[in-house]
Symmetry: C2
Subunit: 382 residues, 2 copies
C-alpha cells in the first residue's frame, strides 16, 4: 500500500506541479476532479472518464448517504467497486449540500439535523458521522465537516462560524484516525476576510492535515474577489501539502487559481454544461442548440481527441440536442471533460517548463476573460 | 461495390440462416436490427451498438424527414456519416409513423398530407417522396410506402387499403430505380385474412422486390394470431429473398417467427425497455426498479458479456435507475441489445446445425411463454 503523500516536482512562481500518491493510485497535479455525485459521473462510463485523463473523481457524501446509503455501499464492497471506478475518489463532507439542498436544517455545536430532499427522512450529521460515512464509502481523500456560511456574511457571523468549524475540524481529524493510503483534508474558511482566513489556516495547520482545501468560494462572488482571497490565503498553507479549491470552476478560474498555487479542483460545470448543450473550447463556449450549427459539418474542435470531435459534426450534436437524445449529453460531457483534462495537462506542462505565465496569457479564453457576462468565454450554463 | 443479394446457407424446417450482402456490408440472418429512430440508437454510442453484434440498424424516415430533414442529412454526407454508423441501415417508408404520430392526416391515392407532431408544419408524403427521402438519407434497404390500416379492420376495409398499397408499391419500386449495393423491399399487408395476404404477396412478387416484409402485425394482436398469419403468409414469399417481420418483437415472438421462416426483425423493445429499468434475460425480464435488487451484488446475468453485467451489480443498476441517472439507460440498453444479438446468434447457430426446434424448446423464456401477462417472461414495458 502506497503511503498517502505529495511529491512536488516543480514550481513556477506560486504555481506548482507534482504527484499526490494514494493507496489507489497517483494524481497528477494540478488536477481536475470530475464530479460523480451519485456514484456516476453523469452520462459517462467510468472507463470513458479515465480516457479523458482523470486520475480521480469526486463523490458527494450527502447524496450517497441518502441514496443508496453508506452502509449499503460498504456492504456492497465500497464506492469504487459499486461505481466501477478503481482509482482514487475524494468525497466531500456532505456539509455544503446539507446546507444548500436539505430541508429544515438545525445546526448546533454537536452537528446538523436535517431532512432529506429526496423523501423527507430526518438525518443527523456530525463531524464524526461524516467521517464514518466517508470511511464506509472507502474514500481516498476525506474532507472535514465544515459550516458553510452564505456569501456576504458579516465579519462577526463568519468569525463565529469559523470558530465552530475549527472545533469540527479537530473532531473530524480524530474521527478519521489512521487509514493507510488515504488522506484527510482540512478546509480553510473565513469568507473574504484576510485575518480570518489566516486564523483558519493556522488553526488547521496546528491540527495537521494531509491536504488543505479552500472553501467558501465559487459561491457567487466576482472572480477578482476569489483571486484576491486566494492571494491572502494560499501563503498560509504549508507548501508540502496539496491545496484544493472546492467547487471551482470556469477554465479561467482554474488558470488563475493555479497561478496562485492551487493544486486540485472539482466542478460540475463541464458535466452539467454538457447536458445543457454547452461545449467548452479554447476560444470560449459554444451553445450547440444554436441554429447556426444546424448545417455545420465540422467538429466542435478540429484538434480535440474526444469521440464527439473525432466522429461527429456540430450539425449532429445540434440535431441530437434539439431531439433531446441521450447521446447529446454523452458526447458533450465527454468533450467537456476532455477539454478540462487537456487544460490541466497544459498547465502541468507549462509549470514544469517554467513558462506558466506565458502559457496562461496565450490562452484565447483568458485573453477575453474580462468581457461582459453575455460574451464571456467559458461561462457556465445560464 | 458488392451487389445486393441474399445467400441462403442452411434451412431447418421453415427456418433459414444466411447472409444478406449489401454495398455497406453483410447482414447475418436471422438478424435483429436495433432501432435508431432519430439518427441514434438511444443511449448508445455507434461502436457499442456494433459490439453487441448488430450488423444493421434501422432509421425512421418520418422522424428524420421532420428533423433534421432529408435534404440536410444528404448535404452533410448522408445518414451513415451523420450518425457515425458505417454499416448497413434500413429505413422504413415513414408511412406507419405518419399514420400513428402525425396530426390531421388526409390519405388519397396520391399520398398522405399530414402535420408534423414536432411543430405542426404541413408535409406531403407520396410513394415517390418516401423513396426520394430514403435515397437522400443513403439507406441501404428502402421500404415501399404502404397504408397501415388499424388492427381489426373489416375485410372490405383491409381489401380496399391493400389494393392502393399495391399500386403504391409499384410506384415505390419505380421511384427506387437502380441503386447499386442497395435494395428495395415490398411489404405484405392484408390483415389477418389469408386470401388477402396471399393476394398481397402475389402482387408484390409480380412487381419484384429485393426482399419482402410482413407488415400490419405486432399492432396489439395476440401472439397466436401473429404466428397464424405468418403460417399462411410466409409460404407465398419467394425463398431466395430475405423476409422481414416489421416491428417485432418480444424474444418469444422472434423465436416463433424464425421457426416460421422470417429472416429480419426490428423493435424498440430492447432499447425502450432499457430506458425503463427493464432487463431481458434467458429466464425472462427483470425490473431493476424493484427493491429486491437494492442490495444484490450479482450482475443481471452471470454469463452475459455486456459491460452492465461484467462491471456492475444489480444493486448499482437499481440505484442509478432510482436516481434517474443516464448511466442506467446506457447500461440497460447495452445489456438488452446484447441479449437480443446473442439470441439471434443462438438461433443462427441452431439452424445451421439443424436443431432449431430443440434449441427453441429449451429456451427458458419460451417454456414459460404461455403464463399470464403479469408473469410473462420478456414482456414489454407496461
Amino acid at each position: 500500500m502506497t503511503d498517502f503523500h505529495f511529491d512536488l516536482h516543480a514550481t513556477d512562481g506560486a504555481a506548482r506541479t507534482g504527484v499526490l500518491h494514494t493507496g489507489r493510485g497517483d494524481i497528477r497535479t494540478p488536477a481536475f476532479m470530475p464530479v460523480g455525485t451519485a456514484a456516476t459521473v453523469k452520462a459517462m462510463m467510468p472507463e470513458s472518464v479515465r480516457e479523458t485523463g482523470a486520475d480521480i473523481i469526486l463523490g458527494n457524501t450527502y447524496h450517497l448517504m441518502l441514496r443508496p446509503g453508506a452502509e449499503r455501499v460498504a456492504k456492497l464492497g465500497g464506492l469504487h467497486k459499486f461505481a466501477g471506478w478503481e482509482r482514487p475518489i475524494l468525497t466531500d463532507s456532505g456539509g455544503f449540500q446539507v446546507m444548500s439542498l436539505a430541508k429544515l436544517r438545525k445546526i448546533t455545536e454537536e452537528g446538523v439535523r436535517f431532512q432529506s430532499h429526496v423523501d423527507g427522512a430526518t438525518f443527523f450529521m456530525s463531524p464524526e458521522r461524516s467521517m464514518e460515512i466517508q470511511r464506509l464509502l472507502g474514500s481516498d481523500i476525506q474532507m472535514v465537516l465544515d459550516e458553510c456560511p452564505a456569501f456576504g456574511g458579516t465579519e462577526a457571523v463568519i468569525e463565529k462560524s469559523l470558530a465552530m468549524t475549527l472545533r469540527w475540524a479537530k473532531r473530524s481529524k480524530e474521527a478519521f484516525g489512521e487509514q493507510p493510503g488515504r488522506g484527510c483534508f482540512g478546509i480553510v474558511q473565513g469568507g473574504t476576510f484576510a485575518h480570518l482566513r489566516e486564523r483558519s489556516a493556522l488553526g488547521l495547520k496546528e491540527i495537521g492535515f494531509d491536504g488543505y482545501a479552500v472553501g467558501g468560494l465559487a459561491v457567487g462572488e466576482p472572480q477578482e474577489m476569489m483571486f484576491e482571497t486566494l492571494d491572502f490565503t494560499v501563503p498560509h498553507l504549508p507548501a508540502d501539502r496539496p491545496r484544493y479549491l472546492m467547487g471551482v470552476g470556469k477554465p479561467s478560474d482554474i488558470v488563475g487559481a493555479v497561478l496562485r498555487g492551487i493544486d486540485m479542483f472539482d466542478c460540475v460545470l463541464p458535466t452539467r454544461s454538457g447536458r445543457n448543450a454547452q461545449a467548452f473550447t479554447w476560444n470560449g463556449t459554444l451553445n450547440l442548440r444554436n441554429a447556426r450549427h444546424a448545417e455545420d459539418p465540422g467538429p466542435i474542435d478540429e484538434n480535440c481527441r474526444c469521440p464527439a470531435c473525432r466522429k461527429f459534426s456540430r450539425a449532429y450534436l445540434h440535431h441530437t440536442v434539439k431531439a433531446q437524445e441521450i447521446i447529446a449529453s454523452m458526447l458533450l460531457t465527454w468533450h467537456n471533460l476532455t477539454f478540462y483534462q487537456d487544460l490541466m495537462a497544459g498547465l502541468r506542462g507549462a509549470i514544469a517548463e517554467g513558462r506558466l505565465k506565458e502559457y496562461a496569457a496565450g490562452l484565447p479564453f483568458i485573453a477575453a476573460a474580462h468581457e461582459p457576462a453575455d460574451g464571456e468565454p467559458n461561462s457556465g450554463p445560464k
